[in-house]
């Protein structure tokens, strides 16, 4: 079984991508497994649209528990099962909020266990100074991903006006990393993601 992890700063669109990607692969109702900090697992069955309204929100740190879903990815003529993990957002330093702290520790532990790392960066906000802006931790994830091999950057929100400019900035910053421009909301660039995933896990 291949474990594939999605991570990045808060509010970059990890959960949006998580659900849209499942929809792109033809899933209409998803079984989500939430793992809370004590290690117990809750299973819930949602349709994609319901899950969207339930899980996605403007406020940062909406996702707190690790949420996973089994997906089958087309590889050559067959299909391969992977488990996609959605994680809570990561920020620099020590958070004062205990729940956020736990969620970050959980995400980093999953990062250590994952076979394939999808690192999401918000391309539209590189110039701003908000919680989804590129920062130290992104560079660290990049470094870690490089040493692990199966790693790529998803530059999200390219459908927004500033996305294009942000994308070229990200390209410049992470020169030797494979970068896939996507829009999780408009489902752009998913084909490339699919290709990357299937190439890495075969």
């Amino acid at each position: 079984m291949n474990n594939c992890i999605l991570l990045g700063k808060p509010n970059v669109g990890k959960t949006t991508f998580f659900l849209s990607y499942a929809e792109y692969l033809g899933v209409t109702s998803c079984i989500l497994e939430f793992e809370n900090f004590e290690g117990s697992v809750t299973r819930k069955n949602y349709s994609i649209n319901v899950a969207r309204s339930y899980l996605i929100n403007q406020t940062p740190f909406k996702t707190k528990e690790i949420c996973r879903m089994n997906l089958s990815i087309p590889v050559y003529k067959g299909r391969t099962e992977i488990t996609l993990f959605d994680t809570g957002g990561l920020i620099d330093g020590i958070s004062a909020n205990e729940i956020v702290r736990k969620s970050m520790a959980e995400a980093l532990k999953q990062l250590y266990l994952a076979d394939l790392i999808l690192h999401m960066i918000d391309a539209s906000s590189v110039d701003h100074n908000c919680c989804s802006t590129l920062s130290e931790i992104d560079y660290q994830i990049n470094q870690y991903g490089h040493s692990r091999g199966a790693y790529c950057i998803l530059a999200n929100k390219i459908d927004l006006e500033e996305g294009e400019k942000g994308l070229s900035f990200i390209r410049k910053e992470f020169k030797d990393t494979y970068i896939i421009p996507i829009s999780a909301r408009k489902m752009k660039g998913f084909k490339e993601v699919n290709k990357f995933v299937s190439r890495v896990i075969q």
Partner: protein
């Protein structure tokens, strides 16, 4: 990949939860940890570099273990000998022809074209002809664009991805289908250009059904001369299919009784009479066997006691309604 959680990581995890260390420190530890482990792996791999040679033998062995495909094996042998001699000639300072290894595979579905292509990629890698030895499998939709100029771009990206490996175009004849205004022609032109531009860096394999491929090559005479190697994948004979069946059954730790084998022979023979094109293939055999395994399960479920032999043996009645 590290699967077990190291004690250290668990400890860090606890610390991060309590708030004694931040996310950055946690990650820093992970980075150092994985760097150390990759260094160890590198050291190991440099130690057993001479295993490469073994792997070449094992790949060849894998090829020879495929049932049937006599002609294919012969041609692969020829190619390998040719490569070897050209390399030796070069060492002696003689003129060596550049190695053009683009190929055309002709054969019905399920005759092993993709399987052989994948093995070839690995063989060429072991022989240092390809740097990566991967196989990119594409079809018409991956090459032909939707508007003017789109096609060349698509072809170029596929070629770029396959550099150092094999680009395998399944059902290649479909590129020439659809009349004058179709972009398929453009895709062929772009492919030819890419073949010239990246001569030694990738191998192009066109695959498809026998007749359609012959027509395809007739329509594009320039293509034929660019592909020096043509391999025909003949349909398996019924005996070979039975051998394949036995192999598949053994792989799954089952076995067939003699009368079950006879039954399977009958089914395959009657299939061949009815529809010739799709009958000669290994996929059909796999489907039949998987079906019989399910039948056997149903049969055994009603029994209260079954021995180890019962669980292994596929009997004649398991194949009974297999005609569908």
């Amino acid at each position: 990949m590290p699967k077990k959680i190291k004690k250290e990581v668990n400890y860090l995890y606890q610390l991060a939860k309590q708030g004694s260390i931040g996310s950055n420190e946690f990650l820093n530890h992970l980075i150092i940890d994985s760097k150390l482990s990759t260094e160890q792996i590198n050291q190991k791999s440099s130690q057993d570099n001479n295993r490469e040679e073994d792997s070449f033998d094992s790949i060849i062995k894998e090829l020879y273990q495929l049932i049937g495909l006599r002609e294919v094996k012969e041609i692969v042998n020829e190619i390998l000998a040719y490569i070897e001699i050209q390399q030796r000639r070069r060492l002696q300072g003689l003129n060596a022809a550049p190695l053009v290894l683009h190929m055309i595979f002709k054969g019905n579905p399920g005759t092993g074209k993709t399987t052989v292509a994948r093995i070839l990629a690995r063989i060429f890698k072991a022989k240092n002809l390809l740097s990566k030895g991967h196989l990119i499998e594409v079809e018409r939709a991956d090459l032909v664009g939707e508007y003017i100029g789109h096609t060349a771009l698509k072809v170029r990206t596929q070629v770029k991805e396959s550099l150092g490996g094999i680009l395998f175009i399944d059902e290649a004849y479909s590129l020439a289908r659809g009349g004058e205004k179709d972009f398929g022609k453009e895709a062929i032109d772009a492919l030819v250009k890419a073949m010239e531009d990246n001569k030694d860096q990738f191998i192009l394999i066109l695959a498809g059904y026998q007749e359609e491929m012959d027509d395809f090559l007739k329509v594009n005479p320039g293509l034929k001369s660019r592909f020096p190697i043509h391999i025909d994948f003949l349909d398996y004979s019924i005996e070979e299919l039975i051998d394949i069946a036995e192999l598949m059954v053994n792989e799954r730790q089952y076995s067939m009784s003699k009368s079950a084998k006879a039954k399977l022979y009958n089914i395959l023979a009657s299939k061949r009479k009815k529809e010739s094109r799709y009958s000669g293939n290994a996929r059909l055999v796999r489907n039949l066997i998987e079906k019989s395994i399910r039948k056997q399960a149903v049969r055994l479920k009603e029994k209260e006691l079954c021995t180890r032999d019962d669980l292994i043996m596929l009997k004649r009645e398991d194949f009974l309604d297999g005609e569908a």
